[in-house]
Symmetry: C2
Subunit: 153 residues, 2 copies
């Protein structure tokens, strides 16, 4: 199974910048898209290795960093106690999405809440005015137990 959408976009960007599309990059992109969402570098690595056991972890990191620099993914640290990043494939529409983080199994679930956007706009302005600062972004992270972990408890 191949995922042409992101892979093609990346190949285009790659070409435009004198880069090269490699088997490793193709594999990592496929795994990234097959993954339900927000995998860590280690998770991607483990999955990709099933297809190519010679793949190196540093290649995964280099690819993710390359993708991040071009805005194809954005890294997030949901966990305050464990240090790893989760890589969030950026959706083409640019729509703002928020996250739920399961503190038991580390799963991440996306959600959008249109009502939040309005309030965030309001808050952003208010805070900005109040403190004389410039708000560029707002992230809402809910945490707790995901459906599976609730079931198991």
């Amino acid at each position: 199974m191949t995922f042409p959408l992101l892979t093609d976009q990346v190949t285009q960007t790659l070409r435009a910048q004198g880069g090269r599309m490699t088997a490793q990059r193709r594999l990592i992109l496929d795994v990234l898209q097959a993954s339900d969402s927000h995998p860590t570098a280690e998770e991607l690595y483990a999955l990709a290795r099933q297809s190519d056991p010679s793949l190196n972890l540093s290649t995964v990191y280099r690819t993710l960093n390359w993708l991040e620099e071009r805005g194809f993914v954005s890294p997030r640290r949901f966990d305050d106690n464990h240090a790893h990043k989760h890589f969030d494939p950026v959706q083409p529409d640019g729509g703002h999405v928020h996250h739920f983080h399961c503190r038991k199994c580390d799963r991440v679930i996306e959600f959008s809440a249109p009502q939040v956007e309005l309030l965030l706009e309001q808050i952003r302005g208010e805070i900005a005015r109040q403190h004389g600062l410039r708000v560029d972004d707002a992230a809402l992270v809910l945490s707790g137990l995901c459906m599976d972990c609730v079931a198991k408890s």
Copy 2:
């Protein structure tokens, strides 16, 4: 200058659990309270060392972990690219507070937005119902440039 409030509470807890109040812990607590807010372990260490150059960084970490386990501070990672924690002294009233993070100078500013709480309650319930999960906490993090960094730009 000494800050008796938190220090006394901590001493009490310490006593109650067979622990010992040491010069190092007193110092770290003082520096933590003198700091405007949300210092990192390294920041606390640097400040505390001005009073006691023999203080060791691992003692700072051990003290912060001890405080965290008893709910006196809570660690937060505001930065998605740098891995360090900021330590947030937990306010006694238990009131929910949100944060602004300056992505230029790493400063953290607290704010409370009562309007947010209502909406968060609403969202929490909605998301929980929709996905069958349990939401325990919600954190809103704004990011951008703080007043000083805005001025310098």
